[in-house]
C-alpha cells in the first residue's frame, strides 16, 4: 500500500476497519470525534455495525455485549468520556473478554479543555475502574504507529482476553502524517469456546464478572494475575534512540516522547551524550529496560504532559541509583523542543540535587520561572 497523508484519528479508525472491526459503539467528544465520524460512514457501507450511543456509559456496555459474542468490537473517547466508561472497563476485565478502546486524551481534570494532554496515564495504567485488573495500554507517537498499534490491539485483546487501549492525545489524533494502511483483512468471526452466541448444539454458556463466593473470586483474581504475567513476559514494547553511548537518558511516551526526540537531536548537535527511551507499551511497562539503563546512565530526565504519572514508574525501575529529573507541561500545553533542550542542558551540566522529589523540584523551578 502507498503512503497516504492521514489524520491520526481517521488512520486509527480505518486501521480498525481493516483489522476486521465488526462493531463500533461510541459517543461524540472532542478531540476524538473523527474516529466516530469515519466509522459512521465506513462500517454501514461494509454491512457492519455502527451505533451512536446515548452516552459513554451505554457505549461501553454495548461494547461489553458485542464482545460477549466474540465479535471484534471497539469504542473510542476522550478523557471525560473514558471516565464514564470505567464501570464497563472493570466489568469487561472481570468477565475476561476482548475489547479495544481508544482514549484521545485532553486537558483535565473535570471538563478541562480539548487540547492534548497525558493526564490519564494513571487511570489507564494503574487502574481507574474498581477492582484488581489490568489492561494492555499502548501509546503511539506517530500516525503510522497509531495504525500499527490499532491492528495489534485487536490481536492482543483476543490473545489474552482483555481490554487493549490505545492511549493517545489530541495532538496525534489531529495531526496528519504520511502513513501506510494495512491490507483489508477479511472479517472472521471466530468460534471462541467462551462466546455467548446461542447454545446451538452445545451446553449453554454464561459470561459474567460476578463471583459471589469469595474463594471463586480469589481464583479469578489469581487467574487474571497469571494472564498478566504472560503479558508482562511477552508484550513489552519500546523504542530507543541514540542510547548506545548515552550518559543521559530522556524518557517520554507519545507526544512528549516525540517532542523529546527533537530536543535530544538538538542536544546531540551540541555534543551532549543524550539518548531517548520511548515506552510504547505503558502497561506492561518496560521496567526491565529502564532497570538496565540505570546501570549505565548518570541521570534520567522524564518528560510528560501530566504531573509526573509515568515518573513514578521510572523511579520504581531506577531505584535511586542515579538522579531522575522531571519536566512537564500541563493543562493541554505541548512542550516545545527548546524547553526540553534547556532541561537536557541543565541535567548535563549542573550538579543534581536528589534530596527533593523530582516532581516537587520541577514544580519549584517551573513556578519560579513563570513568575519571572
Amino acid at each position: 500500500m502507498a503512503r497516504e497523508l492521514l489524520k491520526g484519528n481517521v488512520a486509527m479508525a480505518e486501521a480498525a476497519v481493516r483489522a476486521g472491526l465488526e462493531a463500533y459503539f461510541g459517543y461524540p467528544i472532542t478531540p476524538q470525534t473523527e474516529v466516530l465520524e469515519h466509522l459512521s460512514a465506513r462500517l454501514p457501507e461494509l454491512g457492519r455495525t455502527f451505533v451512536q450511543a446515548e452516552s459513554e456509559v451505554a457505549a461501553i456496555n454495548m461494547v461489553y455485549g458485542a464482545a460477549c459474542t466474540g465479535t471484534r468490537v471497539m469504542s473510542s473517547s476522550s478523557s471525560p468520556g473514558v471516565s464514564l466508561m470505567m464501570e464497563g472497563i472493570s466489568y469487561i476485565s472481570g468477565t475476561e473478554i476482548p475489547a479495544v478502546l481508544v482514549n484521545v486524551m485532553r486537558g483535565g481534570p473535570g471538563l478541562g479543555n480539548i487540547a492534548p494532554s497525558q493526564g490519564d496515564y494513571n487511570q489507564a495504567v494503574h487502574g481507574g475502574g474498581h477492582g484488581d485488573y489490568n489492561m494492555i495500554v499502548l501509546a503511539p507517537s506517530t500516525v503510522q504507529e497509531s495504525i500499527d498499534l490499532m491492528v495489534l490491539a485487536f490481536d492482543l485483546a483476543e490473545k489474552y482476553r482483555m481490554i487493549t487501549m490505545l492511549l493517545t492525545d489530541g495532538s496525534i489524533g489531529q495531526m496528519m502524517e504520511p502513513a501506510e494502511l494495512p491490507e483489508m483483512r477479511p472479517v472472521v468471526r471466530k468460534d471462541w469456546d467462551w462466546a455467548t452466541n446461542g447454545a446451538i448444539g452445545r451446553e449453554r454458556r454464561i459470561l459474567s464478572s460476578i463471583y459471589i463466593n469469595p474463594p471463586l473470586e480469589e481464583e479469578t483474581n489469581l487467574r487474571l494475575m497469571k494472564t498478566w504475567q504472560k503479558v508482562q513476559a511477552n508484550e513489552v514494547r519500546y523504542k530507543e534512540y541514540y542510547l548506545d553511548d548515552a550518559e543521559f537518558i530522556v524518557v517520554g511516551f507519545g507526544t512528549s516522547g516525540r517532542v523529546a526526540l527533537s530536543a535530544v537531536r538538538a542536544a546531540r548537535a551540541q555534543g551532549i551524550k543524550v539518548g531517548l527511551f520511548r515506552p510504547i507499551s505503558l502497561n506492561p511497562f518496560p521496567y526491565a529496560m529502564i532497570d538496565e539503563l540505570a546501570n549505565k546512565a548518570s541521570a534520567f530526565l522524564v518528560v510528560e504532559m501530566n504531573s509526573g504519572q509515568m515518573l513514578e514508574d521510572i523511579r520504581l525501575a531506577v531505584r535511586g541509583r542515579v538522579p531522575v529529573e522531571f519536566y512537564a507541561r500541563l493543562g493541554g500545553i505541548v512542550p516545545f523542543p527548546d524547553e526540553v533542550l534547556s532541561e537536557i542542558q541543565r541535567v548535563a551540566t549542573t550538579k543534581l540535587n536528589t534530596d527533593q522529589h523530582p516532581r516537587d523540584a520541577w514544580l519549584a523551578r517551573f513556578t519560579a520561572q513563570s513568575e519571572r
Binding site: R3, L5, T30, P31, N113, I114, A115, T142, G170, S171, Q174, M175, M176, E177, P178, R258, V259, A260, L261, S262, A263, V264, R265, V334, F336, P337, D338
Partner: protein
Amino acid sequence: MQKEILIAGFGGQGALFAGQVMAYAAMDNGKEVTWIPSYGPEMRGGTANCTVVIADDEIGSPLVKNPPAVIAFNLPSFDKYEELVQPGGVLIVNQSMVDRGASRTDIITIFVPGNELAEEIGDRRLLNMVMVGALLTRLPELSIQDIETALNAHLPERHKKLLPQNRLALQRGYDYAQKELEKQII
C-alpha cells in the same frame, strides 16, 4: 534537513488547506512530513493555524517555537508571529489585511496584496495559493511544480476544474514576491 512552516489566518482564508497542500507535496517528494492544526475553541470561526514540518528523517516535535517560515493571512497573525520567526527566517504577510509595516530587520518580510491578486485572477478563495506561491520564493524544499503535482494528485475530483486557476495563483504570488525580494536586495 528539516524545515518548519507556520501558516496562520482567519477561518475560511484557506490557511489549513495551504498547509495540507505543502504536506502532500513534501510527501510526494519522498520526505517525512507532519501537518498539525491548532485546534480548539478558536477553530470555530476564529483563527486557524497549522504547522508543517518537512524533513529527511523521522520527525520529532510537530510544533516549533520559532519557525523559520511563516505565512500570516491577517493582522492578528502578523502581530502574533512576527516576533516568533527564527532570525534569518521569512515572513509572508497578506498586505490586504494589515495596516502596518515590518518591525523586525533580522528576518525577510515580504508583503503580498493577496486578496487583490486573488481577485484579479477571478476568485477570492485563491488567496491561499497566492500566499503559498510567495513563500516558495524562499522555500527551496518545494517548487511550484511540486505543489501543482500535489494539487493534481490529491484535490477531490469535483475541484479539479480549478487547477489552472490554482496554478495561476501560485505563479502570481511567486512572481510578486520575487520582485519584492529583488527590491529588498537592491
